[in-house]
Amino acid sequence: MHRRSIQLTLACLFVAISQISVLAQDFKLWNRTVQVHGFASQGFVYSSGNNWLTMNSTSGSAGFTDFGINMSSPLTDKLRVGAQLYDRNLGQLGQYHPSLDWGGVDYRFKNWLGIRAGKVKTTLGLYNDSQDLDCLHVFALLPQGIYPVDLRDTGIAHTGADLYGNISLGRRFGEISYTAFAGHHSDSIYSGFAYSSSQDGVMFRSIEGPQYGGDLRWNTPVKGLLIGASRMNEKITGKGSFMNPLFVPQPIPYRMSTEAYWRNQFYSQFKWRRLELAAEYRRYFNRFPCLPGSDVSTDARSWYVSGSYRIGKHLSVGSYYSHYTVTEVSGGIAALFIPTQTDTSLPRNHVYDKVVAARVDLNRYLYVKIEGHFMDGYGIGPFPNGFYPQQNPKGFAPNTNALVVKTGFHF
C-alpha cells in the first residue's frame, strides 16, 4: 500500500509537470540564493528466461522507482553548501528507505585545488557518481558489469573529503582533472549484497568501512577525447546475525571483514557533435576470511563499449556491449562449502549483455526510454550481478532477454 501510494503520487507529478512550465527553481533565504532541483523516474521491466534485478520481471514488474531532491547555495564565490535526499525501490531492494545522497561544503581555493567535505559522491570512472541519475543518460540501465543498479550503494559515496582541481597543460597538451578522496562508506542493508547474503541466513545490520582512492582524467588536445583512470581501496566490515535451520536454529552474531578490496578502472570517452562513444574496463578484487584458516577471493572483470547519437532535438539512440566475468577461489576449509569457480565460459560466471536503447525527450522536463537487453549468462557469485536465487528458485536459464521502459522528469 505504501509503495502504491508513492507510485501514484509520482504519476500525478508526472502528469502535472508535463502540463506546466517549472520556472522558479531558486529562492532567497537570508539574502542568499538557494537553488532547488529534483528528479524522479519510474520503470517497467519484462524479461524472459530469468527474473532480473530482484523483480518478478518474467511477469512484468513496475518495481523500479527512484527520486531525489536537493538544495544548494553559493555562500561566496568560492564556497558552496548543499544536500540531496534520495530514495528508491528496485524489486526487493531499497524499499523506500530514504537516505542522504550527498551533503556538505565545497570550497575552491584555486582552479587547481578545491575541497569537498561531508557525504560526497565518489568520482570513479565515467559514471560512478551519476550512475543513479537517470535523467543524465541515454540508457535506462548503464552497463551492469561496471555500474550494477542492484549494488548501487557499494562505492557510490563516502563520508569524508575530496581534494580536486583542474590543471591546464597548455593548448598543446590539454588539461588534467584530478580527485583524491578518503572517508568512510556505509552500504545500505537494503542493497543487493545484503539481500543476496540473506538467502544463506546472514542478516546484516551494517556494512561499512574506510574507503580511499583517486581519479585522474586527461582532457586531451584532441577535441572531445577524454582518457582517465581510477583506483579505489576499501575495507568492508559487515555485522549482523546468522541463522540456518539446518546448522544454527537460533540467530547468532555474525561478522565478516575483507582483507583486501580494491577496484581499478580505466576509461575513455569521445564526443563529436551529436555522437558520443565510451569504453571502460574495471577490475575489482576482494578477499575475505570466512572460516579460521580459510578465505574466499573474488575477482570480477568487466568492460563495455558504447555509442549514442542524438537525432534531432528530441530523440537519442544508443547501444552497448557489456562483458562481465567473475571467478572465485576458495582456500582452506572454505573450499568444502564454496567451490572454486574459475571457468568464465560457464553461464554462472559471466554476463554478456547486448543492449539497444532509445530516449525521447518530450520536453525539457519529461522523457521516456525504451531499451532491450540480450544477456548471455547470469553471473551468480558472492557479489551478484542482477540475478538472485530468491527470484529464480527453480534455477537459472542460461540466457535472459529483457525489455525496460522508463519515464522520468527532472527540474
Binding site: F39, P74, K110, N111, D129, S130, L133, C135, H410
Partner: protein, 220 residues
C-alpha cells in the same frame, strides 16, 4: 631609418553577432576562448589575472544558442544536462540565467566577477566588453597594405628609439578598427598608431585581434 621589425601574433576572434561583457572588477580586456569555455563549464572560478569569474547565461534565444555553439560546442539541451550533472552529483550549481539582454547587463554590472553575453547591438553601459581570442595556427591575418610610421625628427636626432607594442583589432573586411597601446614611448606610439590605422589585411570570416610590435632605430 625605421627597422621593419614587425612581430605579429594573430588571434582569431569569433562571434561577431554577440559580445562578451564583464563586470568592472574583471581586470583583463581580453579572454581566451579556452578560458571562457572553462568559466562557463564551471571548471574554474578565477581568471588568469586573479579576478573572480561568475558565468551568467541567457535562458534561450538565438544569441544563447550561438554562444553555446561557438564557445562551448554544445546545444542548450546538452548544456542543461551538463549543469544538471554537476547539480545532482553535488559538484556545482546552475549559473544565473536571464531572459533578456537588459537583465544580463544589469546583473553583470552589479555582480563582482560576472561574465555574460548579449547581442552585439545591446547597450552595455556599466560593463566592460571582453575581446575573445582564439589561438590557432591557421589564424594569421595576411597584411596586404602596410604604411611605415614616420619617425619623429626630434626623437631621431636625440637617438631616442625603442619598441612600441600595439593591440590591433582587425575587422572581417581587413580594416583596422581599433588600436590600443600596450607599451612604448608615447611620442613614438602616436606615430605608430597613426601608421597602423592605415594598414589593410586580407579579409577573413570574422574579426581578429593581433599584437604588433614596431621597432624605431635611429641607426639601423
Amino acid at each position: 631609418m625605421i627597422a621593419a621589425a614587425v612581430l605579429l601574433t594573430s588571434l582569431n576572434v569569433c562571434g561577431s553577432d554577440i559580445k562578451i561583457i564583464a563586470n568592472g572588477s574583471v581586470k583583463m580586456d581580453s579572454i581566451s576562448a579556452h578560458e571562457l569555455r572553462s568559466v562557463f563549464l564551471l571548471q574554474r572560478r578565477t581568471l588568469t589575472d586573479g579576478s573572480s569569474a561568475v558565468p551568467v547565461l541567457k535562458t534561450s534565444g538565438a544569441d544563447h544558442e550561438l554562444f553555446l555553439k561557438q564557445y562551448l560546442d554544445r546545444s542548450s539541451d546538452e548544456m542543461r544536462i551538463y549543469y544538471q550533472g554537476l547539480v545532482f552529483t553535488g559538484k556545482g550549481s546552475v549559473p544565473k540565467q536571464f531572459n533578456s539582454d537588459a537583465e544580463v547587463v544589469a546583473y553583470v554590472a552589479k555582480t563582482k566577477g560576472a561574465i555574460g553575453y548579449v547581442s552585439a547591438d545591446t547597450p552595455t553601459a556599466g560593463v566592460k566588453i571582453l575581446v575573445v581570442a582564439v589561438a590557432g595556427s591557421d589564424s594569421e591575418r595576411i597584411l596586404i597594405t602596410r604604411v611605415e610610421p614616420a619617425y619623429p625628427e626630434t626623437l631621431k636626432q636625440r637617438d631616442i628609439g625603442g619598441i612600441v607594442r600595439l593591440r590591433v583589432t582587425i575587422s572581417a573586411k581587413g580594416n583596422v578598427e581599433r588600436v590600443e597601446l600596450l607599451g612604448g614611448n608615447p611620442i613614438l606610439a602616436e606615430a605608430a598608431e597613426s601608421a597602423v590605422k592605415q594598414w589593410v589585411y586580407a579579409s577573413s570570416h570574422s574579426q581578429s585581434v593581433a599584437e604588433v610590435s614596431l621597432r624605431f632605430e635611429s641607426h639601423p
